[in-house]
Structures are given as C-alpha cells and as structure tokens.
C-alpha cells in the first residue's frame, strides 16, 4: 500500500522551532522471515507530541523502537528503507548507537527504576557519560527532577530507594532519568498503562510541558489519551499477513473528529478492533 502523507500542520506551534526531527521513508521491518512493518513513511515534527495508535500487534512499538534502534537487540531483525534523525541516517553502520540512544531516550510501560536511590537513578546516565563532580551531578539531578515535576515530592527522600516511591512517582523518576542525559527525543511506550488515573493525568500534563523542548512520540492503547496529549496522530493496523501499515497520519484534532480513512473511523469509534 502506498499512502501519500503530508507533513502534519504544525502551524499552531512556534514555527521557528518546528522542523522535521525524525523521518522514516519506505521502511520495512522484519523479524526473521516475519514482516512486522510495511512501507512506513512519516515525518515527525520537532517540539511536539506524536501519538501512535492502533490495535494490538499492529507494530506500534516496533515503529517506536525503530527510532532509537532498540529493535537491534532482537535476534534476526532486519530494517529496509531510511530512518533519519535531523537528516542523518541512523541505520548507517558508522552511527554510534549509544550516542543515538542518548539523543533519543525511552520511557517504558512499567516504571523500571534501578534498585538504587532516587538520586543515583537520575545521576546514573550523566555518570556513565563521564560527569564526576558531585556539585554538577546534584545540579543535574535537581534540574531533571524539577523538569519531571517530581522534585517537590522527592526532595527529602533523595537517598531512599527508587523502588520505595509510588508507581506514578517511579514513572516520573524514569522520565527524570531520561531527561538527565539531555535527550532531544523521548520515546514513550505505553507510559501510563500501569498507573492510576490521577498519576496518568500528571504524566500527561508533564508531557505537554516537556513538548516545548523535546520531541515526544508516544505509543498508547488509550485513544482518549492520544486525543488529549498529542499534536499529531498516526493510526496503524495489520494487513492480512500481519504486517503493520500506516493507515492515516495527521493533526490529532482532525484524526479524532473527521478521519479521512474509513478504517481509522471504524477503529476509533469502536466499530472494529
């Protein structure tokens, strides 16, 4: 299937900052002989939130993981086509994957703090990247925790275990851990599915404030969440051979009020799926 996709209308956001941050062109992804993604082409605008929705197994997470090469960790994976970050092909053999993952951070479904203190969780990344000064680390930790809207809640428990705080706080700790290495893009794979509604709304609120400085891509099963937080939305589904394709991609308001493709309409109104 060949769908013509336009760069989404991002005119509502500051235009000088908004450029194409990530680009996928005619991407096919295989796990061994199984084709997981077929002919995916899309441009992800910077300083905005892009949501990927679709039924289970349609390749949403595989598409997300394409952008920081997390799929490389799976045995037998093969990528065809072109994926770019700021115009640089990221599947080029010369690319330093660790550096790429520093620029493109990731938050997972289940909060996964390291079994160490709140402070050490956030300081872990910067330390790995060579920062040793205690003062500098303290500054990074505070800034990251503030940015993740967690500082006020944990400033007195920095030495407590990261596993001792609530689920919602743990997830924001994981976001702070990502922010500490100053990424440009944050990939979020179902970041709220293990959280209660209030913690979910806090994360969503945080995402909106982070979108001013970062490019965020979120995979979510929760359509209302996609509608609430994102600027642009992509709807994916499986073809009969189970390969994931991109059906529709456009401004969120349009996709959820007047989708162009009948399959999107049927999915978001619960007429299939």
């Amino acid at each position: 299937m060949n769908i013509k996709l336009n760069v989404p209308d991002i005119s509502a956001r500051p235009t000088d900052k908004c450029v194409t941050k990530l680009k996928a062109e005619r991407v096919n992804l295989y796990y061994g002989s199984f084709q997981c993604l077929r002919n995916i082409t899309l441009d992800i605008p910077s300083c905005s939130i892009t949501a990927i929705i679709g039924p289970s197994g349609c390749g949403k997470s595989s598409l997300l993981r394409l952008f920081n090469r997390m799929n490389d960790l799976i045995h037998g994976v093969r990528v065809e086509g072109n994926v770019e970050l700021d115009g640089t092909p990221i599947y080029d053999p010369k690319i330093d994957v660790a550096e790429l993952r520093k620029r493109v951070g990731m938050v997972f479904q289940k909060p996964n703090p390291f079994p160490m203190s709140v402070f050490e969780n956030v300081a872990y990344g910067p330390k790995r990247h060579g920062i040793k000064s205690r003062g500098e680390l303290e500054e990074i930790v505070e800034k990251s925790l503030r940015h993740a809207a967690l500082w006020d809640e944990v400033k007195d428990k920095l030495s407590q275990s990261g596993l001792s705080i609530s689920g919602g706080q743990q997830q924001r700790l994981c976001i702070a851990r990502v922010l500490a290495v100053e990424p440009e893009v944050i990939l979020m794979d179902e970041p709220c599915s293990a959280l209660d509604p209030v913690a979910t709304l806090k994360i969503e609120d945080l995402m909106r404030s982070l979108a001013e400085d970062y490019t965020i891509i979120i995979v979510t099963h929760n359509m209302q969440q996609a509608a609430r937080v994102s600027d642009t939305a992509a709807f994916m589904m499986m073809e009969p051979d189970r390969a994931g394709v991109l059906v529709e991609y456009g401004p969120t308001a349009q996709l959820f009020t007047n989708p162009k493709d009948k399959r999107t309409e049927d999915y978001i109104t619960g007429r299939f799926g």
Binding site: A227, N258, T269, R271, F272
Partner: protein, 222 residues
Amino acid sequence: METRTAFHKRLREIQDDILVMGSMVSKAILRSIEALKNRDLDLAYQIVADDKKINQKRFEIEEKCIELIATQQPMASDLRIILAVLNIISEVERIGDYAEGIAKIAIMIGDEPPLKPLIDIPRMAEQTVDMLRRSLDAFVSRDAEAAKKISAEDDTVDQLYDQVFRELLTFMVEDPKTITRATRLIWVAHNLERSADRVTNICERVVFVVTGKMEEIGASKY
C-alpha cells in the same frame, strides 16, 4: 466486529427521539393552521399547552447527549452525530415555538370575521412540514445530497411568503380597516418562513455529520 454495541444502541435511541420530537413539531405546525382556519380556539390553547411537552422532549434529548459525551468519550462520526443532535433539537424546538406563536395569533384573532380564505398559508405550512420531516430522515440516513436538495426548496416557501405579503398589502392599501387582520396573517406567514429557514439549518448539520464540513447551504432570501 462491533465493540461498542451498548453505546451505539443509545446513540440510535437518541436519533429515534429526534424523529419523535420532529413529529410532535410537525403536528403542532399543521394543527396551528387548522386552528387558524377553523377558528378553533380550544385547539389553539391545546397547541400552546403542548409546546411544553416539546420543550421537555428537547431537554430530555439534550441530557442524554451530555451523558454520552461525559461517559463515553465519543469520537469521529459518533462525536459529530451528538454535536449535530444538540444543534438540531434546538432548531426543531424553535420551530415548535413558531407553531405556538401561530396558535397565539389564532387566539388573538378570536372570532373576528376572516379577511379571506386561507390558501397560500396552508401551502407554506405543508411545504415546511414536508421539508422538516425529510430533513430529519436525511439526518438518520446520513444523506447529505438529500439535505442539500431539501435546503434548496426553501425558495418555494420564500416565494409563497412574497405572494402572501403582496396580497395582504393590497388588502391594506385598498381598505385600511383590514390592517390589523392582515398584519396578523403576515405574522403567521412570517413564522412559517422562519420555520423553513430553521429546516435549512438542520440540513447544514446533516452535511456536517456526513462530511465533517460546516458550510452554509442555500442562504435564505429573508
């Protein structure tokens, strides 16, 4: 596989409610003209009283829509349907008010001798009611083409209104004693002309439900 059967069933019920409300209002318009023609004051008072039931029905539908928005987070065409329902019921309710207005004019006229036999005014009423019924059918069957066609028929009602106005004006010019009675009939015709305009607004909502576009289709002469 349909996954939101309960929600979609309630959405269909709301659309059935609109048809019921439409039929209440159609009846009110036709009966108001009957009351006027036959000097039937009892019927006129009945129409005024029945308008409360129409208003009640409108609030009932509105509450159901609000509940669905609050509890079901409707999207895409489901959202457009609910938004259209909210608009359409206010148009239909207003047409009900025009019927009540005509009944009140009939009460005002009381048993004054008729100025002339009513011919064009009942035709205006029939045309308006026919347009109203078909516009609601077009909504339920999501027929944007039919809606556009119905909207264009507003011209017929406008022409009849012109005709009634000119005729009554002639009466008034020839014999100023007819001014009061003629003016009251002009009010009746005006109420019908406005009702037909409201139907064109309903038609616009049908187009919105089908295409997602808000557009004015067929601007009225008045």
